[in-house]
Structures are given as C-alpha cells and as structure tokens.
Symmetry: D2
Subunit: 347 residues, 4 copies
C-alpha cells in the first residue's frame, strides 16, 4: 500500500510500504476512506516530537471500512464503516474505566501516527478496536464524521466541558485556529451570552464569526483585557479557553477571567508559562489542562445526526490521497490558503 511516511525533521514521502497485519487478537485492519492532517503532524515534521522516529506512518484521524478483525474483536466486523478515534483505549485500565482514555495505561492513549503507524495510509492497524472505533451513524458523510476523530472532541472536552461553559456565560476563546473554532462551536451548545474570539489574524476572526463568536478582538490592535472588562462590568469572563499553546496567550487567558472563573487550556505547550499567583491566589480561579479523552464521542455522534453541529464548516480543501504532498503544502500554509481542515479521500 501507499502511506505518508516520516523520515526525520523536514522529510516525508507518500510512498509504498508493506500492508499492516493483525498483531493482536484485539486489532482491526481498516481501509482508510477519509483522512485529515492535524497541526500536531506539522509539529512532528519540525522534529518537535522525538518519540516519532524515521519510518513512522503519520496521522491519527480517519474514517474507514473494516477489512479484518482479530478473534477477540466483538463489536465491529468486516464491511462496517467506522470512525477511527485519535485516542486508542485498552478499555480495562484504571484510566480507561474512568473514561480518561487519553491517559490509558494499558498500551493506548495517543499512539496512532506517534508510537505506532498511523492513518495517513491506504490501510491502518487499529489496536483495541472494540474501544477505539465507533460505528458510523447512517446519514452522515465520511468527511463530516472525520471531524469527530480529534478536533471536535478536543475543543468540546478540553475547552468547553473542562471550562464548564453554562447558559448565560461570557466565554473568551484565545486563538481562532481550527482548535479555537472547535471550542467556539462546542461552546454554542450551552447557549452562552457571548463568545469572544481573540486572535491577531483578521481572517481567523472572520472565521470565528462564522462559527458563532459574536464579539471578535484583534489583539494585535486592541487591548483584549479592556474589551472584556468593558463587556462584563469590570469583572472578567466566566470562562477563558486557551487554544494557541504559547506563554503569552496562556497568560492572557488567566488575566481575562472573573473571580471564580475558569481557564481551560487546550494549547500544546513547548515551554513553561508564568502563573501570576500574586494576583490569582485570592481570585478563586480554576485552571485545567488536558489531552482529549474522546469520552464525548457518543454525544457528538448524536449531535452530528441533528443540526446542532455542522462539522462540514471545518473542511476547506479536498484532495485524493495521491495528492497527500499537496495537501500538506496547503495545510502548512494556512495563513495564505485559509485552510482549516483538509480532507483526503481514496482516488
């Protein structure tokens, strides 16, 4: 088969590799029907994730068709259309039994395209298939379903649920890239009074409006803290969601919330941030971090079947898999191409 293979920092190729085979009786082999590229894949290509080594097939999101399953797999069978989640779950360890699949101690967690070969390929081996895939609901396109592999549960769980967004809240989202937009889409499910998007790129703020932000702040030009305070009688936002991953945006998020407010960090950070405890110690704040666990996938599947979530909004570009190098090029130049999510399907 062909696959997108990492060959060290800055080097990748769409090339011929051996087909994957069942290694454990809980594995499934899935034919990939739709696959996408994540910002994390770009980080890997920069060499930021040393656990990924030369020869690894990238990718941790897919919709596909089951080809074969190990003898212990009960819930999916050849021919089934399934969502392959970015998180693999052994289903039996302490964390899996509490729904914290991202923290799986039994060999799961984020492993696809990281510790084992991933989904950017014609076929993918998925371990613990019973607890790591979801049957596709009828009436949902492969492309829309694909958005539930990572980006939608990440924004919803790590941003919205960790931040405990409630009806009537003022929610500030720092960063209006795909993850920030996912948090905006998720926040709207709880009917906040205001969703404020903060970014330095006007194009992203324009997208934020399309996803449901009613107030946008370009913090290259405007003082976000001042705008938020003016809106909230000086108190601050109920919830601030960090969706960038650098110290400055995290520190901005912690400054925006009211006493008793919540900061939900989604961003992937490469260095420490400063926590202004000399101001925050007295303000009853809650700060959360998290890798997505995907425990919300069943909920999001229900919502996808209705009108509550329009997952298609994320998809800006379409390719066939033999155009994988082009797709990476477009996605990596998002500022110019306005790419949010690119989808690749079989030729």
């Amino acid at each position: 088969m062909r696959a997108l293979v990492y060959h060290g920092p800055g080097r990748k190729a769409w090339e011929e590799v051996p087909d994957p085979t069942l290694q454990a009786d809980t594995d499934a082999i899935i034919r990939v029907d739709a696959v996408t590229i994540c910002g994390t894949d770009l980080h890997i290509l920069k060499g930021d994730v040393p656990a990924v080594t030369d020869g690894r097939i990238l990718g941790h999101e897919a919709v596909g068709t089951v080809q074969s399953v190990g003898s212990a797999v009960k819930n999916i069978k050849p021919g089934d259309k399934v969502l392959v989640s970015c998180i693999t779950a052994c289903g039996a360890c302490r964390y899996c039994r509490e729904g914290s699949y991202g923290q799986c101690l039994g060999g799961g967690g984020w492993i696809l395209g990281h510790k084992i070969d991933g989904t950017q390929a014609e076929l993918v081996r998925v371990p613990f298939a019973d607890t790591s895939t979801y049957l596709a609901p009828s009436g949902v396109s492969d492309e829309n379903l694909l958005m539930l592999a990572d980006i939608l549960p990440t924004g919803y769980e790590v941003g919205v649920l960790n931040g405990t967004v409630r009806p009537g809240d003022v929610v500030a989202v720092v960063g209006a890239g795909p993850i920030g937009l996912s948090a905006i889409m998720g926040a709207k499910l709880f009917s906040p009074s205001h969703i404020i998007a903060i970014d330095k790129a006007d194009a992203r703020l324009e997208a934020a409006k399309q996803f449901g932000a009613d107030i946008v702040i370009n913090n290259g030009r405007e003082d976000a803290l001042e705008v938020v305070r003016a809106l909230t009688g000086g108190l601050g936002a109920d919830v601030a969601i960090e969706a960038v991953g650098v110290p400055a945006t995290f520190e901005l998020a912690t400054s925006l919330i009211r006493p008793g407010g919540h900061v939900a960090n989604i961003g992937v950070h490469g260095e420490p941030a400063t926590l202004h405890l000399e101001e925050l110690w007295i303000r009853n704040v809650t700060i959360t971090t998290g890798l997505v666990d995907t425990y919300s996938t069943p909920t999001l599947l229900s919502l996808l079947r209705g009108d509550a979530i329009d997952a298609g909004k994320f998809i800006t570009h379409h390719f066939t898999m033999d155009q994988f190098m082009d797709a990476y090029d477009v996605f990596s130049r998002a500022a110019e191409t306005s790419a949010l999510k690119v989808v690749l399907t079989r030729s």
Copy 2:
C-alpha cells in the same frame, strides 16, 4: 477601649482607642471574648499589605457577645454568643448569592483588620451582621469555636473541597504550618488512603502526624517526588494541597500529582510561579486558587459539636488580652515556640 493598633511596618501597640459605634443599620457591636492572631497579621506588620494603613486595628477572627445591633439586624440580638467570621458578606450581591462571600461585591469580603478596624480589641463593629456572624452552638468552648473564624474553613474549602478529596485518595499537603494542618484535619473527613505531609521542619512534621498524616517527608533531606511516586506506583498523588505560598512549593505541588489529579493552592503568594505547561498540558490536571468564602461554616459547626473535628488541637498558647504584645511575640517566633494558634481572652 483597648485595641491592637497598627502604626506602619514593624510598629504596633495595645493602646486606648475610642469604642466603635453602629454606622449602618446592618451593623452589630460585639464584645470580644476570644481572639487569635493569623499569619496574615504578621504579613501586615511587615508592610506587605499596603491597604492596611496607620491606625488600623488588626484581627479578623473572634468569638464574642453581641452588645448592640442596628435596626435592620434580624438574626442576632444583644447577649447572643457569636462567631465573627473572617469574611463579611453583604448577602445580596452576585457572589454572596452563590456562596462566594470572600468575593463579595457589596462591601464585604475580607475587610476586618484590613479595610476597617478588626477584632483584636475589646469591642468590634461587624458590618452585615446577619450574614457575617454565626450563633454559637451549645456545648462548644469559645476557644474551639474561634478556630472556625478562619483557619478551619480555609483549609477545608480552599484545600480539601477545592482539591475534591475523596475516600481512598492519596493526598499530599505541602507545608505543615497551621494552614497545612487544617487541610490535613479537613482531608481526614473524607477518609483518604494516605495523607502525606511535606515540610522542612521536623517539629512541624511531628505535628502533622498528630493531626492525621500517616506519611511525613522532610523535603530538606528527602526527595518528595520520589517518595510519592514509590507510594503510588509511579503515578503521583490524587490531590496536592499547597499551604506555604512561595514558588518552589507551588511548583513542587504541581509535580506531585498524577494525570487527572488536582492541585489546590491555599498559600498567599507574593510573586509569580512557573507553571510547567510543557509537561502539564497533556496530564489533565486541575489547579485551583481561592480566598476562603466561609460557606462551609454551618457544616463545620455541625462537625465541631461531634467528635469529627478536634479544633482544640490547634491551640498551643493562652493569653489574656492585656498580654497582646507577648502573644504576638510568641506567635511570630513559631519555629522556636512551636506555636500553632494562640488564643487571647478577656482579663
């Protein structure tokens, strides 16, 4: 009357001052029967709290007898024995209506001995008396009741409840001074599997054992992280409570918890700390801060009447009020005197 008056950094006196009078119809004048000194009072005396100005009577904890009440006070009357809480609550603002009295927007919060004259005096004026005092239950001594003015609700709310201690948990308490001991006493109410006390002073660790810690670590000599990991199969503690207020102890607390764990900060911080988001972003951690709200006072009053809380354990020294300067001396040299809480009563 006589009162303990602050006269700028390093200067205080037990001196004659005018008696307080009712200023608002929601005020009460309380005769102070028992009063204590808080670590915060020592901070004020160092000049660390600029809002406290020359001439201010210090103190925010008392048990006393109602002398007179304003016309709008309904729930206490002259002659009643009451607990004067460290937090004053208007009872009608947004925060008070949610039980966040420490964040009161209506003129309350921590004001006694801070923005208005406090309790280290023969008489004290208590604003919003209906929602800022509690009738003394029968059968509880003034001294034991006094521990509910600040230290017990602080450890319980900001440490134990914010940290969501649950039966079976492993709880690490960083700092075994009076606040850390209060957190240990509060944590025991939830039957954790282990309470680990961490401090650099052996005498404090000895006290921690008396209050219920079953494991003590002198982190001047031992590696706390290593001990906690060995105890928890490498995962870390379920809850870490910071009860010191300096960057190093906060950073230690964030390193001790398992994925999915909670850090509850109680310490009063004067400078920022480093938050290692490059490690924490992926670990599903929750970090909380807080000034005490005293919403738990009714619960603690119930427990005080039974055997669940032995508040008297905190009281190491007794004085009469005319010995106030001596009491400050003993309390400020806690390392030598082993003082936890000192209690002053009427002569």
Copy 3:
C-alpha cells in the same frame, strides 16, 4: 388602590382596597406595571390552597417601579424598574445561603398572593426587597421581563437543571401547557438531540413545536412509550420532565426513561402517585421534585438580553388591569382561547 381580591372558593373581585404600606425596614412598595396570572391562581380559586383566605390579594409575578423602600433596603431605590420574583428570600437563613430561596426559613418562600397580599394590584408590598427583586436590564420590555417572575425559572430549574439535560440528550416533556413549554424552551439551551412533547391536545402540541419540540406525541391516540422506545433503540429517554401534576402523567414519565435516566417533576400534585419500584429499583433512576428557587434569575436575565430566550412567545393575550376579570376568564378557558400567558398593564 384597586386589586384582585379572593373571597373564598369561586369568588374574586377587582375592587378598591387600602394601599399597602412599609411594615419592615427591608420592605419595598412597588407600583405594578405588568402582571400576569398563573395556573396556581386558578387552583387557589377552586379552594385547593387552604392557606389562602378571604380577602387576600392574589398574584406572585410582576414587573414594576419602586415607589418607596424601608431604611434597610440597599440595592433598589424609588424610580427603579424591577422584576418582582415569585419567591421572596430572607437572604440569611440556611436555605437562602444555599440558593434554595423557595425553601426559605426566614419568612420568605412563596408568600406573595399566598400568605401575604400579592401582585395583582396597582401596588404591592415586597418583603426582603434586596434579595427578592431584580433590577430590569436595559432593552428588555416589561412584558418579556415578566416571564422571568415564575414560569421561565420554574421550567429551567425544576425541569431542565434538576433533570440535568445535556447536549445530545433525548428529552421527553409530559404536558405541553405553559410550564411544559417553558421546560422545552429551557431544554433547548443545552442542545439536546431530541425534545419530545407529549400531550392529549393537538393545539398544545402545535405550540410545543413552536417552542422547540421536534417530535410530538398525542398520547390520547398514540402510545408514548412505544414511540420513545423506537426512537432510542429500546432504551428510553435520558430525561423525562413531568409538567402536569396528576398520577398518570408522573407514572408515564417514570416509564419513559432509560436506565440511568432522570425524571424531573414540575407538576403540582394533589394526590399520591404509584412508584413502580418493582421495576425501577434496578434501573439507576433519579427522580427530583421542587418548588422553583429562582437562583437562575441572573442567568435568565443574561439570556433574555440576547437571542437565546424569546420570552415573548408565551404572551398570547394583553389586557389593562381594569379588565382583570376578563383576563381571568380568558386564561381559565385556555383550551378554547389558546391562552398561554396573559399580560395586564396599567390602563
């Protein structure tokens, strides 16, 4: 002034009575600008609420203008436009301090038009005015604001929040009268997958669709249990909200939910119901009851200023106060007149 006075079962009059006066320093006298009639008022007129005696002015919902306040009232002043909540809160008792104002032990709770004279009058005395009224937000009409006095918080708190409606849920609402419609409107704030309205009157089911139900069942003709099971793969609804108040509808609600589901009772019941514990004991169900507490009023005020809640949808008929007898007539014949809420304003 003139007021709607109860004179025993079946007898009422819009008649001249003395103006109310301040009785306690926490009282306010409010000029009534908009007032409505509740189903409970009809119950009182039937003689079902013996605590209401001859001579009582009815009504517990109003929007008005402050005329005068007692000396202890801090937060409203003459000239302010305010919402008069159906629940009066002393603000200082155990229940008020936990936000359970409906259970106030300090002289509040549901007292207006019940234990003291109510709002169906040109003037009304409101006790504990600071914690029982809310300043009107700008840009909201008196009529829309009036819907926050009772019906909207009742459906939201007792139905939606007690039932813990979450995104993706299947919510069944038994009874599509005004309270059921309020529950439907509130449930939509949490983006459920389906809202099922169940009633025997097609006109009410038509209204339910306008309020947001996507599935309607006439249980005079259809088997509600069968429809719900077909929709949910045989499991049952996540949440069932009872909004009628008779045994049959409560028992229906308990039969509709899935294992682990919630039944939220809003209905005012006059007789016991049968609880089928022989089936329910093993199904992990949660059943809640409740009088509205109105703790959600600030949230609903925020939502009212935005587009999330269209309170005007409830208002089907307008009268001036001198038409009070006509208004009662129309409201009491809702099946014929299709009345949901009638609003009376000053002539």
Copy 4:
C-alpha cells in the same frame, strides 16, 4: 466438581456437576477459594426470580485463583488471586464506558448465579474476565476481600454515593440488615454528624452501633419521624437510605428527609410503593434507585488496605464448602443465628 445447584422453588443441592470450560476467548476459569451467600440467593430459592431456572449454579460473589484464561484475556493469568465481582462488564458498551457496569448491554450485568452458572462451586467461569475481576491486593485476607464482591460496593454506591452523604450530614438508614450495615460503614467515610439506624429488631440495632450508628431507633416501639425531627430542629435528615425493600420502609424514608434532602433506595422491591407527591412536589427532594455498578471497587480496595474499612466485621460464620447446606440454613435463619455474612472456604 461440586456445586450448589438450584432445582426450582425451595429445592437446592450441593452436588456433582461437570467442570466449567472456556466458552469465549474473554472468559476465565477461576478456582473458588472463598464464597458467600447473598439475601438475593434466598429470594431465588423462594422462586421470586423467574429468570433463574432448574439446574443453575447459584452465587455471584467469590475470591479465587485463576486456573485458565481465554486468548483475549490480558490482565489476569493462571495463578493470580482475584476478586470475582457480582457484576460482569463487557467493557465496551455505552453503559460500561460510563462506569454503569450493572446496566451492561453487551452481555454482562448481574449474570453470575442468575443467567449463567455462579460462584457457589469449586470452579466458576467468569466472562469478560479483564473487566469483571480485580487482582487481590497484598496483605488482605480472602475473607475480607470477599466482602467487596457485592455487599460493600452496594452499600457504598447505591446508598452513600447516590445519597450524596457529606461531612456534617444527618444520615438515616432504614433497615439494619447486612446491606444497611454496609451503608452505615460507607457513610462513616464521609464523617456525617449523625448516623441513625432504624429497624424493628434490637439485635440488628445493636449491630448498627458496632458499625458506626450513633443513634438507633426501634420503629416497632418508637416513632422514627418524631425522633429524626427532634434531632434536626424539625427539618428532617439530609439523607435517608432505604435498605429493606418493602413499601412501608420506602415510604418512611421519603418522610424522614428535610427539604432538599436525598432518598437513596437500595432495597430490592417486589411491589410498587406509594409516592406522596402531594407533599413531596414542593420539597426539592431527590430519590435514586440502583443496582450496584461496582465502579467503586478500586476505591474500596484502597480503603481495605488501610484502616478505613473493617470488612471482617460482616463475617459471623465460617464453613467449608462441603457444609454449604448448613451455611444456607444458618444464613436463612439470621434472626435466630445473628448471621450477617457467612463465608465458605475450600475444605
């Protein structure tokens, strides 16, 4: 092997049967080292559980040693000492993924000694062994560990956690048989102010004191409602736990709680109860039911290793397995024999 076999109402025998064999690759065969009898087994023997048919081996609680495992079993291996939980969990269905193993849709739930052969035998086949057994912690006896198979998680989850017992609460437990005692032991973990045991047998009330009740009421002689009201200033208990399973005790439990209180039903009911909604609709009560899910087993295992839970207190009688008929006799005459839990071990 030999096993305790049900032969229709009133008939059972300890007789020779074929050894169980692995049927699915997720099965394990466990040698039973310690086993007990549950009140439910007595119900089955009366013919109350029609799903149990002639020839079924009874029993759903065991501690044993793994003999063999199917090819898909990862977490236990021959020679391991394990707890066999009363609840079998497929680990992959909707309910299992939420920790509601008792409601498993994938072939689990309460099946041992009910739908498949059970643990009252020398060997037992346990389906879904990875998610239905727990490795024995070191330093815990087989007998004490056995109490975690059913009785302790049932009292803790269905009584204490469903009832949301909190520090300072007044908790009333209706019924002081083994399940009521388990609820008392579990409630103590949360440091309530009072635990009130209510029963008609003085011997059971005496046992309740040993388990931690500080107030006992013989409701054959005393008016429980009056005692509870006197203790609580007329309000009622915070939590009432029903541990009998007949209408009268359920109705008593609903009468005992304060406004805002919780009734947690543990009892297995064979007929409907009357729910006094004409009184309860206005009192903000929460009523829960539940089959045990055993999600708390890891927590209870942690507590068992410490001093927080003394599981051995339940064990009143010891037998070897060849005395199974005698053990049933003693357990079925608990009123005379004072049996709480009987334990049978290998000869």
